[in-house]
Amino acid sequence: MSSQVHMSLYLDPQIRDWVLFPITLVMILVGVFRHYVVILLQSTAKKLSRAGIREQRALARSQILRATSANSPIPALYYKAISQNLSEAFKSGTYLKDGPPKGDSASSARNPLSDPAAMDGMMAGMKTQMVMMVPQMVIMGWINFFFQGFVLIKLPFPLTLGFKSMLQRGIETPDMDVRWVSSLSWYFLNFFGLNGLYRLILGGDNSADSSRDMTMSPFAAMGTAQPGQPQDFAKLFKAECDNLEFAEGLYAWAGDEMDLKILRKYGKLPPNSVDD
Protein backbone atom coordinates (compact mmCIF):
# COMPACT_ATOMS: atom_id res chain seq x y z
CA MET A 1 0.00 0.00 0.00
CA SER A 2 2.29 2.63 1.28
CA SER A 3 5.59 1.13 0.23
CA GLN A 4 5.78 3.65 -2.60
CA VAL A 5 4.86 6.57 -0.46
CA HIS A 6 7.97 7.96 1.06
CA MET A 7 6.87 8.00 4.59
CA SER A 8 9.54 9.38 6.86
CA LEU A 9 9.69 8.69 10.52
CA TYR A 10 11.31 11.20 12.73
CA LEU A 11 13.22 9.63 15.61
CA ASP A 12 13.61 11.52 18.83
CA PRO A 13 17.34 12.16 19.40
CA GLN A 14 16.68 11.21 22.99
CA ILE A 15 16.19 7.64 21.78
CA ARG A 16 19.65 7.73 20.31
CA ASP A 17 21.20 9.16 23.44
CA TRP A 18 19.33 7.14 26.02
CA VAL A 19 18.60 3.83 24.29
CA LEU A 20 20.84 3.14 21.32
CA PHE A 21 24.13 4.18 22.89
CA PRO A 22 23.42 2.66 26.31
CA ILE A 23 22.54 -0.72 24.84
CA THR A 24 25.74 -0.78 22.79
CA LEU A 25 27.87 0.45 25.65
CA VAL A 26 26.41 -2.02 28.11
CA MET A 27 27.01 -4.89 25.75
CA ILE A 28 30.62 -3.91 25.17
CA LEU A 29 31.27 -3.50 28.86
CA VAL A 30 29.61 -6.80 29.67
CA GLY A 31 31.84 -8.50 27.11
CA VAL A 32 34.97 -7.01 28.64
CA PHE A 33 33.76 -7.88 32.13
CA ARG A 34 33.06 -11.42 31.01
CA HIS A 35 36.54 -11.74 29.58
CA TYR A 36 38.11 -10.95 32.92
CA VAL A 37 35.70 -13.13 34.89
CA VAL A 38 36.54 -16.08 32.67
CA ILE A 39 40.24 -15.46 33.27
CA LEU A 40 39.55 -15.42 37.01
CA LEU A 41 37.55 -18.62 36.84
CA GLN A 42 40.09 -20.52 34.84
CA SER A 43 41.41 -23.16 37.11
CA THR A 44 45.05 -23.95 36.54
CA ALA A 45 45.52 -27.14 34.61
CA LYS A 46 45.84 -29.98 37.01
CA LYS A 47 49.28 -31.49 37.16
CA LEU A 48 49.53 -35.07 36.12
CA SER A 49 51.49 -37.48 38.20
CA ARG A 50 54.46 -39.29 36.75
CA ALA A 51 52.42 -42.43 36.15
CA GLY A 52 49.70 -40.38 34.50
CA ILE A 53 52.09 -38.83 32.02
CA ARG A 54 53.58 -42.22 31.31
CA GLU A 55 50.15 -43.63 30.57
CA GLN A 56 49.25 -40.73 28.35
CA ARG A 57 52.44 -40.86 26.35
CA ALA A 58 52.75 -44.61 26.00
CA LEU A 59 50.73 -44.59 22.81
CA ALA A 60 53.10 -42.06 21.26
CA ARG A 61 55.93 -44.55 21.57
CA SER A 62 54.29 -47.11 19.37
CA GLN A 63 53.10 -44.42 17.00
CA ILE A 64 56.67 -43.22 16.57
CA LEU A 65 57.79 -46.75 15.93
CA ARG A 66 55.02 -47.37 13.44
CA ALA A 67 55.41 -44.08 11.62
CA THR A 68 58.57 -45.16 9.85
CA SER A 69 58.05 -48.91 9.82
CA ALA A 70 57.82 -49.25 6.03
CA ASN A 71 61.24 -47.65 5.69
CA SER A 72 62.57 -47.93 9.19
CA PRO A 73 65.86 -46.36 10.24
CA ILE A 74 66.66 -49.27 12.53
CA PRO A 75 67.56 -52.88 11.69
CA ALA A 76 65.16 -55.77 12.07
CA LEU A 77 66.40 -57.19 15.34
CA TYR A 78 66.03 -53.91 17.18
CA TYR A 79 62.72 -53.15 15.55
CA LYS A 80 61.25 -56.49 16.54
CA ALA A 81 62.59 -56.20 20.07
CA ILE A 82 61.03 -52.78 20.59
CA SER A 83 57.82 -53.77 18.89
CA GLN A 84 57.37 -56.94 20.90
CA ASN A 85 58.26 -55.21 24.14
CA LEU A 86 55.65 -52.57 23.54
CA SER A 87 53.06 -55.06 22.46
CA GLU A 88 53.56 -57.18 25.56
CA ALA A 89 53.48 -54.14 27.79
CA PHE A 90 50.26 -53.02 26.20
CA LYS A 91 48.69 -56.42 26.61
CA SER A 92 49.63 -56.79 30.22
CA GLY A 93 48.81 -53.19 31.02
CA THR A 94 52.23 -52.16 32.31
CA TYR A 95 51.66 -48.59 31.26
CA LEU A 96 48.30 -48.18 32.96
CA LYS A 97 48.32 -45.49 35.60
CA ASP A 98 46.98 -47.79 38.30
CA GLY A 99 49.17 -50.71 37.34
CA PRO A 100 48.12 -53.86 35.51
CA PRO A 101 44.46 -54.77 36.01
CA LYS A 102 43.98 -57.33 38.73
CA GLY A 103 41.88 -60.45 38.58
CA ASP A 104 38.58 -60.55 36.84
CA SER A 105 37.57 -56.93 37.15
CA ALA A 106 36.00 -56.43 33.76
CA SER A 107 37.41 -53.19 32.49
CA SER A 108 34.30 -51.23 33.14
CA ALA A 109 34.12 -47.95 31.38
CA ARG A 110 34.44 -45.52 34.20
CA ASN A 111 31.53 -43.27 34.76
CA PRO A 112 32.87 -39.78 34.15
CA LEU A 113 30.57 -38.38 36.82
CA SER A 114 32.24 -40.47 39.49
CA ASP A 115 35.74 -39.41 38.53
CA PRO A 116 36.60 -36.21 40.37
CA ALA A 117 39.11 -35.15 37.73
CA ALA A 118 36.48 -35.39 35.01
CA MET A 119 33.98 -33.51 37.15
CA ASP A 120 36.42 -30.63 37.45
CA GLY A 121 36.74 -30.34 33.71
CA MET A 122 33.00 -30.33 33.27
CA MET A 123 32.42 -27.83 36.03
CA ALA A 124 34.88 -25.44 34.42
CA GLY A 125 32.88 -25.62 31.21
CA MET A 126 29.63 -25.02 33.07
CA LYS A 127 31.07 -22.05 34.91
CA THR A 128 32.11 -20.24 31.76
CA GLN A 129 28.72 -21.03 30.31
CA MET A 130 27.04 -19.46 33.30
CA VAL A 131 29.17 -16.34 33.03
CA MET A 132 28.04 -16.08 29.45
CA MET A 133 24.36 -16.91 29.83
CA VAL A 134 23.41 -14.93 32.89
CA PRO A 135 24.42 -11.44 31.78
CA GLN A 136 22.98 -11.97 28.33
CA MET A 137 19.67 -13.03 29.82
CA VAL A 138 19.67 -10.00 32.09
CA ILE A 139 20.40 -7.63 29.22
CA MET A 140 17.72 -9.16 27.08
CA GLY A 141 15.21 -8.89 29.91
CA TRP A 142 16.24 -5.29 30.48
CA ILE A 143 15.73 -4.40 26.83
CA ASN A 144 12.45 -6.25 26.62
CA PHE A 145 11.15 -4.60 29.75
CA PHE A 146 12.12 -0.99 29.13
CA PHE A 147 12.52 -0.61 25.40
CA GLN A 148 10.04 -3.03 23.93
CA GLY A 149 8.88 -1.92 20.53
CA PHE A 150 11.37 0.93 20.23
CA VAL A 151 12.68 1.82 16.82
CA LEU A 152 16.28 2.80 17.34
CA ILE A 153 18.06 3.52 14.12
CA LYS A 154 17.67 3.69 10.37
CA LEU A 155 20.25 1.83 8.38
CA PRO A 156 21.80 4.01 5.67
CA PHE A 157 21.34 1.39 2.95
CA PRO A 158 18.31 -0.39 1.48
CA LEU A 159 17.59 -4.02 2.27
CA THR A 160 15.23 -6.65 0.93
CA LEU A 161 12.15 -7.82 2.76
CA GLY A 162 13.88 -10.96 3.93
CA PHE A 163 15.69 -8.96 6.59
CA LYS A 164 12.47 -7.86 8.19
CA SER A 165 12.36 -10.66 10.75
CA MET A 166 15.98 -10.05 11.55
CA LEU A 167 15.89 -6.30 11.93
CA GLN A 168 12.42 -5.67 13.28
CA ARG A 169 11.99 -8.26 15.96
CA GLY A 170 9.46 -7.16 18.49
CA ILE A 171 7.67 -4.73 16.15
CA GLU A 172 4.74 -6.31 14.36
CA THR A 173 4.20 -3.79 11.60
CA PRO A 174 4.13 -5.36 8.16
CA ASP A 175 4.44 -2.07 6.30
CA MET A 176 7.42 -0.44 7.88
CA ASP A 177 10.58 -0.01 5.82
CA VAL A 178 13.10 -2.78 6.48
CA ARG A 179 15.79 -0.23 7.20
CA TRP A 180 14.38 0.60 10.59
CA VAL A 181 15.94 -1.48 13.35
CA SER A 182 14.10 -2.38 16.53
CA SER A 183 15.65 -2.45 19.99
CA LEU A 184 15.66 -6.21 20.33
CA SER A 185 17.20 -6.61 16.89
CA TRP A 186 19.84 -4.04 17.75
CA TYR A 187 20.67 -6.25 20.72
CA PHE A 188 21.09 -9.28 18.50
CA LEU A 189 23.17 -7.38 15.97
CA ASN A 190 25.50 -6.38 18.78
CA PHE A 191 25.45 -9.85 20.22
CA PHE A 192 26.79 -11.37 17.05
CA GLY A 193 28.75 -8.46 15.69
CA LEU A 194 30.90 -7.20 18.53
CA ASN A 195 33.57 -9.86 18.23
CA GLY A 196 35.70 -7.72 15.97
CA LEU A 197 35.64 -4.90 18.47
CA TYR A 198 36.56 -7.23 21.31
CA ARG A 199 39.46 -8.45 19.33
CA LEU A 200 40.68 -4.90 18.98
CA ILE A 201 40.26 -4.17 22.67
CA LEU A 202 41.27 -7.43 24.30
CA GLY A 203 43.47 -9.16 21.76
CA GLY A 204 43.15 -12.33 19.71
CA ASP A 205 41.87 -15.09 21.92
CA ASN A 206 39.57 -13.26 24.24
CA SER A 207 36.63 -14.91 25.86
CA ALA A 208 34.35 -11.90 25.61
CA ASP A 209 32.44 -12.99 22.56
CA SER A 210 29.46 -14.91 23.74
CA SER A 211 27.94 -15.85 20.43
CA ARG A 212 30.69 -18.38 19.93
CA ASP A 213 29.79 -20.22 23.10
CA MET A 214 26.20 -20.56 22.00
CA THR A 215 27.15 -23.42 19.76
CA MET A 216 28.96 -25.50 22.31
CA SER A 217 27.60 -27.17 25.33
CA PRO A 218 29.63 -28.28 28.31
CA PHE A 219 28.93 -31.86 27.36
CA ALA A 220 29.92 -31.55 23.74
CA ALA A 221 33.57 -31.86 24.59
CA MET A 222 33.13 -35.22 26.21
CA GLY A 223 32.96 -37.23 23.03
CA THR A 224 36.19 -35.89 21.64
CA ALA A 225 39.47 -36.77 23.25
CA GLN A 226 40.36 -33.70 25.20
CA PRO A 227 43.52 -33.47 27.24
CA GLY A 228 42.55 -34.11 30.80
CA GLN A 229 39.42 -35.97 29.89
CA PRO A 230 39.41 -39.57 30.95
CA GLN A 231 40.09 -42.10 28.27
CA ASP A 232 39.93 -45.81 28.57
CA PHE A 233 43.60 -46.47 28.04
CA ALA A 234 43.24 -50.19 28.55
CA LYS A 235 41.11 -50.37 25.43
CA LEU A 236 43.34 -48.01 23.45
CA PHE A 237 46.37 -50.11 24.29
CA LYS A 238 44.66 -53.29 23.14
CA ALA A 239 43.83 -51.67 19.83
CA GLU A 240 47.39 -50.43 19.47
CA CYS A 241 48.64 -54.03 19.70
CA ASP A 242 46.91 -54.82 16.43
CA ASN A 243 48.41 -51.75 14.82
CA LEU A 244 51.85 -52.83 15.95
CA GLU A 245 51.43 -56.26 14.42
CA PHE A 246 50.24 -54.71 11.20
CA ALA A 247 53.21 -52.36 11.10
CA GLU A 248 55.56 -55.25 11.71
CA GLY A 249 54.23 -56.87 8.57
CA LEU A 250 55.09 -53.74 6.60
CA TYR A 251 58.50 -53.39 8.19
CA ALA A 252 61.61 -52.96 6.07
CA TRP A 253 64.97 -51.56 7.07
CA ALA A 254 66.05 -48.56 5.07
CA GLY A 255 69.67 -49.68 5.21
CA ASP A 256 69.01 -53.20 4.03
CA GLU A 257 70.19 -52.85 0.45
CA MET A 258 72.33 -49.83 1.14
CA ASP A 259 75.56 -51.43 -0.09
CA LEU A 260 74.07 -52.13 -3.52
CA LYS A 261 72.35 -48.77 -3.61
CA ILE A 262 75.55 -46.85 -2.96
CA LEU A 263 77.54 -48.91 -5.45
CA ARG A 264 74.91 -48.21 -8.08
CA LYS A 265 74.80 -44.57 -7.14
CA TYR A 266 78.52 -44.24 -7.75
CA GLY A 267 78.37 -46.24 -10.93
CA LYS A 268 80.26 -49.26 -9.66
CA LEU A 269 77.39 -51.57 -10.46
CA PRO A 270 75.14 -51.39 -13.52
CA PRO A 271 71.92 -49.58 -12.60
CA ASN A 272 69.57 -52.53 -12.41
CA SER A 273 71.85 -55.47 -12.10
CA VAL A 274 70.41 -58.50 -10.37
CA ASP A 275 72.79 -59.21 -7.56
CA ASP A 276 73.99 -62.71 -7.13
Binding site: K47, L48, S49, R50, G52, I53, R54, R57, A60, R61, I64, L65, T68, S72, P73, I74, P75, A76, L77, Y78, A81, I82, A254, G255, D256, M258, D259, L260, K261, I262, L263, K265, Y266, G267, K268, L269, D275, D276
Partner: protein
Amino acid sequence: MSLQSALGQLATYRSQNTRASQDIFEKGSLVLQKNGLKKMGDNSWAFLEQLTLAAIDVGRLDVADQCLQSLTDKFPGSPRVDCIRGIRVEATEPPEVALKYYGELLEADSANAAIWKRRISILRRTGKIDKAVTELSQYLDTFYTDVEGWLELADMYATCGQYDYSLQALMHVLLLAPQNPFHVLQAAETAYTAGDLPLSVKMFLTVVDMTDGDDSDSLAESAPRGITVRAWYGVKLCARRIARDARLATISPSSTPPPKHNNTLDELATERLRVAYSSSGQKGEIAKGREEVFTWVAAP
Protein backbone atom coordinates in the same frame (compact mmCIF):
# COMPACT_ATOMS: atom_id res chain seq x y z
CA MET B 1 78.83 -1.69 21.15
CA SER B 2 75.37 -0.31 21.06
CA LEU B 3 72.58 -1.53 23.24
CA GLN B 4 70.52 -2.45 20.22
CA SER B 5 73.04 -4.84 18.71
CA ALA B 6 73.76 -6.41 22.11
CA LEU B 7 70.09 -7.11 22.60
CA GLY B 8 69.83 -8.57 19.13
CA GLN B 9 72.80 -10.85 19.70
CA LEU B 10 71.40 -12.01 23.05
CA ALA B 11 68.05 -12.80 21.46
CA THR B 12 69.81 -14.89 18.83
CA TYR B 13 71.68 -16.79 21.52
CA ARG B 14 68.40 -17.40 23.32
CA SER B 15 66.59 -18.72 20.30
CA GLN B 16 69.47 -20.97 19.28
CA ASN B 17 70.19 -22.10 22.81
CA THR B 18 73.87 -21.23 22.43
CA ARG B 19 76.10 -21.58 25.44
CA ALA B 20 78.40 -18.63 24.83
CA SER B 21 78.52 -17.77 28.49
CA GLN B 22 81.35 -15.23 28.50
CA ASP B 23 79.86 -13.29 25.64
CA ILE B 24 76.37 -13.44 27.09
CA PHE B 25 77.68 -12.26 30.43
CA GLU B 26 79.55 -9.28 28.94
CA LYS B 27 76.65 -8.21 26.77
CA GLY B 28 74.19 -8.83 29.57
CA SER B 29 76.16 -6.64 31.98
CA LEU B 30 76.21 -3.93 29.35
CA VAL B 31 72.44 -4.16 29.05
CA LEU B 32 72.05 -3.93 32.81
CA GLN B 33 74.38 -0.91 32.98
CA LYS B 34 72.56 0.94 30.24
CA ASN B 35 69.25 0.17 31.89
CA GLY B 36 68.01 -1.84 28.94
CA LEU B 37 65.85 -4.08 31.07
CA LYS B 38 62.81 -1.86 30.78
CA LYS B 39 63.10 -1.62 27.02
CA MET B 40 62.67 -5.36 26.61
CA GLY B 41 59.24 -5.68 28.13
CA ASP B 42 58.28 -9.27 28.67
CA ASN B 43 61.51 -10.46 27.10
CA SER B 44 63.41 -9.15 30.08
CA TRP B 45 62.57 -12.23 32.13
CA ALA B 46 63.91 -14.62 29.54
CA PHE B 47 66.98 -12.39 29.39
CA LEU B 48 67.41 -12.52 33.16
CA GLU B 49 67.22 -16.32 33.06
CA GLN B 50 69.84 -16.39 30.33
CA LEU B 51 72.09 -13.98 32.22
CA THR B 52 71.75 -15.94 35.45
CA LEU B 53 72.87 -19.16 33.80
CA ALA B 54 75.72 -17.41 32.00
CA ALA B 55 76.85 -15.68 35.20
CA ILE B 56 76.89 -18.99 37.05
CA ASP B 57 78.85 -20.42 34.16
CA VAL B 58 81.56 -17.74 34.30
CA GLY B 59 81.62 -17.74 38.09
CA ARG B 60 80.11 -14.31 38.75
CA LEU B 61 77.78 -15.56 41.42
CA ASP B 62 77.00 -12.05 42.72
CA VAL B 63 75.37 -11.13 39.41
CA ALA B 64 73.62 -14.48 39.27
CA ASP B 65 72.18 -13.97 42.74
CA GLN B 66 70.86 -10.53 41.81
CA CYS B 67 69.14 -11.85 38.70
CA LEU B 68 67.80 -14.83 40.55
CA GLN B 69 66.39 -12.56 43.22
CA SER B 70 64.45 -10.46 40.74
CA LEU B 71 63.20 -13.60 39.00
CA THR B 72 62.03 -15.06 42.30
CA ASP B 73 60.26 -11.80 43.15
CA LYS B 74 58.44 -11.85 39.86
CA PHE B 75 57.59 -15.56 39.69
CA PRO B 76 57.40 -17.04 43.16
CA GLY B 77 56.97 -20.80 43.07
CA SER B 78 57.69 -21.15 39.37
CA PRO B 79 59.21 -24.53 38.48
CA ARG B 80 61.50 -22.86 35.98
CA VAL B 81 62.95 -20.54 38.61
CA ASP B 82 63.22 -23.51 40.97
CA CYS B 83 65.39 -25.20 38.38
CA ILE B 84 67.69 -22.16 38.06
CA ARG B 85 67.98 -21.96 41.82
CA GLY B 86 68.97 -25.62 41.79
CA ILE B 87 71.73 -24.87 39.32
CA ARG B 88 72.87 -22.01 41.56
CA VAL B 89 72.94 -24.43 44.50
CA GLU B 90 74.98 -26.88 42.46
CA ALA B 91 77.52 -24.15 41.71
CA THR B 92 78.62 -23.71 45.32
CA GLU B 93 77.10 -26.35 47.57
CA PRO B 94 78.20 -29.98 47.70
CA PRO B 95 76.22 -32.33 45.47
CA GLU B 96 74.37 -33.87 48.41
CA VAL B 97 72.68 -30.56 49.17
CA ALA B 98 71.61 -30.14 45.56
CA LEU B 99 70.35 -33.72 45.46
CA LYS B 100 68.31 -33.09 48.58
CA TYR B 101 66.91 -29.88 47.10
CA TYR B 102 65.90 -31.65 43.89
CA GLY B 103 64.50 -34.56 45.87
CA GLU B 104 62.18 -32.23 47.73
CA LEU B 105 61.01 -30.61 44.50
CA LEU B 106 60.37 -33.99 42.91
CA GLU B 107 58.44 -35.05 45.97
CA ALA B 108 56.10 -32.14 45.41
CA ASP B 109 55.78 -32.66 41.66
CA SER B 110 57.03 -36.02 40.51
CA ALA B 111 56.60 -35.17 36.83
CA ASN B 112 58.92 -32.16 36.67
CA ALA B 113 61.15 -33.19 33.79
CA ALA B 114 63.75 -30.41 34.11
CA ILE B 115 64.40 -31.10 37.79
CA TRP B 116 64.50 -34.81 37.16
CA LYS B 117 67.15 -34.36 34.50
CA ARG B 118 69.23 -32.12 36.76
CA ARG B 119 69.18 -34.81 39.40
CA ILE B 120 70.31 -37.44 36.92
CA SER B 121 73.15 -35.17 35.81
CA ILE B 122 74.34 -34.80 39.42
CA LEU B 123 74.19 -38.55 39.89
CA ARG B 124 76.32 -39.04 36.83
CA ARG B 125 78.73 -36.28 37.78
CA THR B 126 79.31 -37.76 41.21
CA GLY B 127 80.11 -41.14 39.73
CA LYS B 128 76.94 -43.00 40.69
CA ILE B 129 76.56 -44.24 37.14
CA ASP B 130 74.42 -47.24 38.03
CA LYS B 131 71.90 -45.06 39.82
CA ALA B 132 72.00 -42.48 37.05
CA VAL B 133 71.31 -45.14 34.43
CA THR B 134 68.37 -46.53 36.39
CA GLU B 135 66.92 -43.06 36.90
CA LEU B 136 67.47 -42.07 33.30
CA SER B 137 65.80 -45.26 32.05
CA GLN B 138 62.83 -44.49 34.24
CA TYR B 139 62.81 -40.92 32.99
CA LEU B 140 62.88 -42.07 29.37
CA ASP B 141 60.14 -44.57 30.06
CA THR B 142 57.98 -41.61 31.02
CA PHE B 143 59.25 -38.97 28.60
CA TYR B 144 60.02 -41.18 25.64
CA THR B 145 60.48 -38.41 23.10
CA ASP B 146 63.50 -36.80 24.76
CA VAL B 147 66.24 -37.31 22.17
CA GLU B 148 68.91 -35.73 24.37
CA GLY B 149 68.00 -38.10 27.15
CA TRP B 150 68.50 -41.11 24.91
CA LEU B 151 71.81 -39.74 23.67
CA GLU B 152 72.94 -39.24 27.26
CA LEU B 153 71.95 -42.82 28.09
CA ALA B 154 73.87 -44.10 25.09
CA ASP B 155 76.86 -42.06 26.19
CA MET B 156 76.70 -43.41 29.73
CA TYR B 157 76.59 -46.98 28.48
CA ALA B 158 79.44 -46.28 26.10
CA THR B 159 81.65 -44.91 28.87
CA CYS B 160 81.10 -48.18 30.74
CA GLY B 161 81.97 -50.21 27.66
CA GLN B 162 78.43 -51.51 27.26
CA TYR B 163 78.28 -50.89 23.54
CA ASP B 164 75.36 -53.22 22.90
CA TYR B 165 73.17 -51.31 25.32
CA SER B 166 74.49 -48.07 23.94
CA LEU B 167 73.46 -49.17 20.49
CA GLN B 168 70.00 -50.03 21.74
CA ALA B 169 69.60 -46.54 23.15
CA LEU B 170 70.82 -45.07 19.87
CA MET B 171 68.18 -47.05 18.00
CA HIS B 172 65.55 -45.12 19.93
CA VAL B 173 67.32 -41.92 18.94
CA LEU B 174 67.15 -42.99 15.31
CA LEU B 175 63.44 -43.66 15.64
CA LEU B 176 62.87 -40.25 17.17
CA ALA B 177 65.08 -38.27 14.80
CA PRO B 178 65.51 -40.35 11.65
CA GLN B 179 66.53 -37.30 9.61
CA ASN B 180 69.74 -36.54 11.48
CA PRO B 181 72.81 -38.15 9.85
CA PHE B 182 74.98 -37.44 12.92
CA HIS B 183 72.91 -39.82 15.00
CA VAL B 184 73.22 -42.50 12.31
CA LEU B 185 76.97 -41.93 12.25
CA GLN B 186 77.17 -42.34 16.01
CA ALA B 187 75.16 -45.56 15.80
CA ALA B 188 77.44 -46.82 13.03
CA GLU B 189 80.55 -46.10 15.06
CA THR B 190 79.06 -47.72 18.13
CA ALA B 191 78.18 -50.79 16.09
CA TYR B 192 81.76 -50.87 14.80
CA THR B 193 83.11 -50.71 18.34
CA ALA B 194 80.67 -53.39 19.44
CA GLY B 195 82.09 -55.61 16.72
CA ASP B 196 79.02 -55.74 14.51
CA LEU B 197 80.76 -55.01 11.20
CA PRO B 198 77.93 -55.83 8.76
CA LEU B 199 75.54 -53.54 10.63
CA SER B 200 78.19 -50.88 10.94
CA VAL B 201 79.11 -50.81 7.26
CA LYS B 202 75.46 -50.50 6.26
CA MET B 203 74.89 -47.64 8.64
CA PHE B 204 78.02 -45.85 7.43
CA LEU B 205 76.69 -46.25 3.91
CA THR B 206 73.35 -44.87 5.08
CA VAL B 207 75.17 -41.77 6.30
CA VAL B 208 76.85 -41.47 2.91
CA ASP B 209 73.49 -41.82 1.24
CA MET B 210 71.97 -39.17 3.47
CA THR B 211 74.72 -36.60 3.15
CA ASP B 212 76.09 -36.71 -0.39
CA GLY B 213 74.29 -34.88 -3.12
CA ASP B 214 71.18 -36.19 -4.78
CA ASP B 215 72.43 -35.66 -8.28
CA SER B 216 73.92 -39.03 -9.11
CA ASP B 217 75.58 -37.87 -12.34
CA SER B 218 78.01 -35.47 -10.77
CA LEU B 219 78.59 -37.55 -7.65
CA ALA B 220 81.68 -39.28 -8.97
CA GLU B 221 83.37 -35.94 -9.72
CA SER B 222 82.41 -34.02 -6.61
CA ALA B 223 84.51 -34.45 -3.50
CA PRO B 224 82.93 -35.65 -0.27
CA ARG B 225 82.88 -33.12 2.52
CA GLY B 226 82.34 -32.93 6.24
CA ILE B 227 80.50 -35.81 7.79
CA THR B 228 80.54 -37.77 4.53
CA VAL B 229 84.34 -38.07 4.68
CA ARG B 230 84.08 -39.55 8.15
CA ALA B 231 81.46 -42.01 6.94
CA TRP B 232 83.75 -43.08 4.08
CA TYR B 233 86.52 -43.62 6.62
CA GLY B 234 84.10 -45.91 8.45
CA VAL B 235 83.24 -47.79 5.30
CA LYS B 236 86.93 -48.19 4.51
CA LEU B 237 87.69 -49.49 8.01
CA CYS B 238 84.88 -52.04 7.93
CA ALA B 239 85.55 -53.18 4.38
CA ARG B 240 89.25 -53.61 5.07
CA ARG B 241 88.67 -55.66 8.18
CA ILE B 242 86.15 -57.85 6.38
CA ALA B 243 88.58 -58.29 3.47
CA ARG B 244 91.31 -59.37 5.86
CA ASP B 245 89.14 -61.85 7.68
CA ALA B 246 85.97 -62.96 5.95
CA ARG B 247 84.65 -64.56 9.11
CA LEU B 248 84.09 -61.11 10.58
CA ALA B 249 81.36 -60.51 8.03
CA THR B 250 79.31 -63.35 9.46
CA ILE B 251 79.59 -62.28 13.08
CA SER B 252 76.69 -59.98 13.65
CA PRO B 253 74.73 -59.82 16.89
CA SER B 254 71.99 -58.04 15.01
CA SER B 255 71.98 -60.83 12.37
CA THR B 256 72.55 -58.36 9.56
CA PRO B 257 73.50 -60.08 6.30
CA PRO B 258 77.11 -59.41 5.25
CA PRO B 259 77.66 -56.69 2.63
CA LYS B 260 77.77 -57.90 -0.94
CA HIS B 261 80.65 -56.87 -3.20
CA ASN B 262 82.88 -56.08 -0.26
CA ASN B 263 85.91 -55.57 -2.48
CA THR B 264 84.13 -53.08 -4.69
CA LEU B 265 83.02 -51.22 -1.58
CA ASP B 266 86.61 -51.15 -0.39
CA GLU B 267 87.77 -49.75 -3.70
CA LEU B 268 85.02 -47.17 -3.78
CA ALA B 269 85.81 -46.00 -0.25
CA THR B 270 89.51 -45.75 -1.12
CA GLU B 271 88.70 -43.75 -4.21
CA ARG B 272 86.35 -41.40 -2.36
CA LEU B 273 88.88 -40.75 0.38
CA ARG B 274 91.57 -40.03 -2.18
CA VAL B 275 89.26 -37.61 -3.96
CA ALA B 276 88.38 -35.96 -0.65
CA TYR B 277 92.03 -35.28 0.12
CA SER B 278 93.02 -34.29 -3.40
CA SER B 279 90.46 -31.68 -4.28
CA SER B 280 90.47 -28.19 -2.96
CA GLY B 281 87.91 -27.67 -0.25
CA GLN B 282 85.78 -24.69 0.55
CA LYS B 283 88.80 -22.63 1.55
CA GLY B 284 90.47 -23.41 -1.73
CA GLU B 285 93.39 -25.38 -0.41
CA ILE B 286 94.07 -29.07 -0.33
CA ALA B 287 93.59 -30.69 3.06
CA LYS B 288 96.62 -31.37 5.19
CA GLY B 289 97.85 -34.89 5.78
CA ARG B 290 97.26 -35.95 2.21
CA GLU B 291 100.31 -38.19 2.09
CA GLU B 292 99.41 -39.97 5.31
CA VAL B 293 95.88 -40.68 4.15
CA PHE B 294 97.13 -41.98 0.82
CA THR B 295 99.52 -44.39 2.54
CA TRP B 296 96.79 -45.44 4.96
CA VAL B 297 94.19 -46.22 2.32
CA ALA B 298 96.75 -48.02 0.17
CA ALA B 299 97.82 -50.30 3.02
CA PRO B 300 96.28 -53.75 2.75
